[in-house]
Symmetry: C2
């Protein structure tokens, strides 16, 4: 296929506020991108960043890529320096990648004011550096930084940079909207102008968009519609300022809306998994509302829609969610009412259609809890316990008598957390005390210790994630704390539970108890 | 001006997962939207939602709008029911708004399968309902639900719905991309086709886009470029699934990129404030990476850029940040180095240019702390303390000896939190104990009680926001907790401090101590 899906998550995407990848992180992201079927993975800037030099070294040994080629990023040679004496150019060759991507200034103002050299020397830098890498058997891509601003300010100069790179042997010259101010119609007009001026096909050009007008995805799609076949994106749109064009939305739009075969077969279905796994490595909460791959991308809340969806789900989704590895979800909220609760329960394998009284009770209970700050939108396990509790199907494994949690910062600077839980398990009163690296962890440990005799399977449970949200008292009540706990049962199953209380420890307690109850309820009894 | 900036934050935007406005919230959002200069505020669906009925009742008395007209949303009459006997139509009239927006089915499949009526009856419903409101002196907008899907499936039928509404007196007929699957080029093509078919000007049409392809803003802009003058958006793009077209990005693009006068003078500058205030009412953390109004929209992180920005800031921003009420920010991160730290310090009023040794020490200390999970990107006050600490300018108001925090869930179900802090203040050893509604609150109270004799001004300090993030141990270390504390000093000044530790209480302690130190350092000494 002619399309070059070029990912720069590991280089330009790493500019996003808050991201800091280790070398192991970068190797993990590269593996995921390859599974998604991208053609090129820009791994970093060897020489400029020690971590990136190390990445390319390890990548050669450790990465076994099925679809992608690795690309090392660097700059054209310094002004006034011979290309083979430029250490940055040397480091780029030493990365030993099949392809390199060189960034060049293409706005005469940046050449003169930031680079402090002449337009002619900048053109020589482009020619020399491209030719040098071509002579060293590299595929060469050239990123024209500030292309669109430059092309608007001085079209002749910016076009001459593109021409110099192509003449020197660059495979593709990439138009970068570095400051991100473009709109789709202007992308189309610039491509028409540039290709006419130089007498070239648009397939010699690439596109790289930042999202400062909230149009990065649309701008990228517009460029491809205008004949560009090389497009640079980042996973989840990570990048500086509002970010880059989101790889998943661009690829899904091209493949599902325009019918262009940009990924190998079977790859698009990995979109949601790859998106969320990369978010996890980047340590950024996945964006629930992200197009195609967000947890809410196919979530329906309105009572109006929820009832109509029962008639014909495909009339309410722009694509079949499974083609990007996503699912349709029905949200449990006060606006939805009985129809949504029934649908949501069915999604969890519980048929409430034949139980109108229970359905009414669950609906009322959800409304009451939501009025107090609870939310089941992200806590399917707590919702399932609630529904099955109303149906009389849940056995509570223990009853709480009391707990106590203590955190001390001692005079010697040591910080210790200790919790004691007193519970009744199968008729027996158990008291257990445990330490933890924080109050919630100590409480979790104490509770599991108290239950361990009767429920040894709990030892395999792991608290996988823990989220805290303070809900402001904007709805008439005081501030409350909402805790979401994600538990892994040690057998590959994850589930999320929720707790709400003005006290974070008590809120966490509720979520922990739901997690253990849900997990045990699904396990075969041992003792 | 001909443009109709139509906001539906309070109706369609309220479909977003997690949003639930009270009537007071809705009144507050309406005031903010009016300050931003929108022409129409769609307030809700009276009759269908009791809260919305109440909203319109109170809005008539309590809202004094400068720019906007209120719009009540509703549906065309029910199939087989006379329009003046339809209670939903009645409720819509009773809202007594100058304008109404009626939703109609315009995809024949939805007419037949979801509405379960005929195409002819649906047209009659449109004609009857529009005519009824026109006869009652209302401006009438008609939302064609699923317009684009319908127009693609059966263009003649969908066009006949538009025609029926216009003939019956609708001012504007709105093309809704309800399922959100459109791209800009297809929006343009559909408008050309429809206006040609009906022989109408595009200014009789409106646009309403959902963001399922990540193109809602671009689609809206494309429609305006094609002659549409009425566009429906929501603040921050809130809405079902991936949301709606973001009001702020659409308006900024139209005004700043296309030069169209869509807002009254002086309003665009309110964008950031209005965006963040609405986020606060909606109780959703503002999106740092939102175009134009996000805190990171003009934030520069890369060392490369940070040094060049000193030369010429405007070459690195696609618009001047102040035109949307935003600021350029320099981020303090490991990737940035000395240049960024120097710029950031200057932003905070500290000149490090003449102190190279201190600049090196601060840079090293930031790098070390960031390696341990600290982040100063959102905590300017902690960063300032760190820099001024290195310059020897910070006086620590007290020293900690030890603290102890206890949370108990007692047998009677009561949950209590208690903290004791032992500190040295100006040579005196003070022990104070306080209760709180949670462990952090108790610790905060105990610390302030201990300091209150020497620093009575602390009584006006309020803990305004408290955020907790668990950082996974993906960078070789164990999981740590990062706490951000926002403090208001009771004199209109807010500042944010950060603490990081594996124990949430200790992390909070660090952030609290920084908050009090920073706040006191800026106050005139009292005792």
């Amino acid at each position: 296929m002619p399309y070059q899906v070029y990912d720069t998550t590991l280089r330009d995407g790493a500019q996003r506020e808050g991201i800091s990848y280790s070398v192991v992180d970068k190797l993990g992201v590269a593996r995921l991108l390859d599974e998604f079927g991208v053609g090129f993975i820009e791994g970093g800037w060897p020489g400029a960043m020690p971590k990136d030099t190390e990445f390319f070294k390890r990548a050669r040994k450790e990465l076994d890529l099925k679809h992608a080629q690795l690309v090392a990023f660097g700059a054209t040679r310094k002004a006034g320096v011979a290309v083979n004496e430029d250490p940055q150019v040397r480091a780029l060759l030493d990365a030993e990648t099949p392809a390199v991507c060189l960034v060049a200034k293409s706005d005469i103002r940046h050449v003169e004011r930031a680079l402090r050299t002449t337009g002619a020397e900048n053109l020589a830098m482009v020619r020399d550096t491209v030719a040098h890498f071509v002579a060293n058997d590299r595929r060469v891509f050239l990123d024209c930084e500030h292309f669109f601003d430059g092309f608007r300010h001085d079209p002749a100069y910016t076009a001459s940079v593109v021409q110099a790179a192509l003449e020197a042997g660059a495979e593709v010259v990439v138009m970068c909207d570095t400051n991100g101010g473009m709109l789709p119609s202007r992308i189309t007009a610039a491509i028409t102008d540039l290709t006419g001026r130089l007498g070239i096909d648009a397939n010699r050009l690439g596109i790289h968009c930042q999202n400062d007008t909230s149009c990065a995805v649309a701008n990228t799609v517009a460029a491809v519609e205008a004949g560009v076949e090389h497009f640079q994106c980042t996973a989840n749109g990570y990048g500086e300022r509002p970010g880059n064009a989101d790889l998943f939305a661009v690829v899904a739009n091209l493949q599902l809306k325009l019918g262009l075969p940009v990924l190998p077969d079977g790859c698009l279905e990995q979109a949601m998994r790859v998106s969320h796994s990369i978010a996890e490595i980047a340590n950024i909460a996945p964006d629930t509302h992200q197009a195609y791959v967000g947890a809410a991308a196919f979530a329906h809340k309105a009572g109006l829609h929820a009832s109509a969806i029962k008639v014909d789900p495909l009339l309410y989704n722009h694509v079949e969610p499974s083609v990007v590895g996503n699912d349709m979800r029905i949200l449990v909220t006060e606006m939805a009412g009985r129809a949504s609760i029934e649908l949501k329960s069915r999604e969890l394998g519980i048929d409430l259609a034949g139980h109108p009284a229970e359905l009414s009770r669950v609906t009322q209970r959800v409304k009451d809890l939501e009025a107090g700050g609870w939310s089941f939108e992200a806590a399917d396990a707590s919702f399932e316990l609630l529904v099955r509790g109303e149906l009389g199907e849940v056995t509570r494994p223990f009853a709480l008598e009391s707990y106590r949690v203590l955190v001390e910062h001692r005079e010697d600077g040591a910080v210790v957390s200790e919790a004691t839980a007193k519970v009744r398990v199968r008729g027996e009163r158990v008291i257990a005390t445990a330490e933890g690296n924080g109050p919630i962890n100590a409480l979790d440990e104490a509770l599991r210790l108290a239950l361990s005799k009767h429920y040894p399977e709990l030892t395999s449970f792991v608290l996988a994630d823990y989220k805290v949200r303070i809900l402001e008292g904007s709805h008439g009540s005081g501030a409350v704390t909402r805790v979401l706990v994600e538990t892994n049962d040690g057998r590959g199953r994850d589930f999320t539970t929720v707790g709400v209380h003005e006290n974070v420890v008590e809120a966490s307690w509720h979520a922990l108890v739901d997690a253990l109850t849900y997990g045990l309820d699904r396990e075969p009894a041992v003792s």
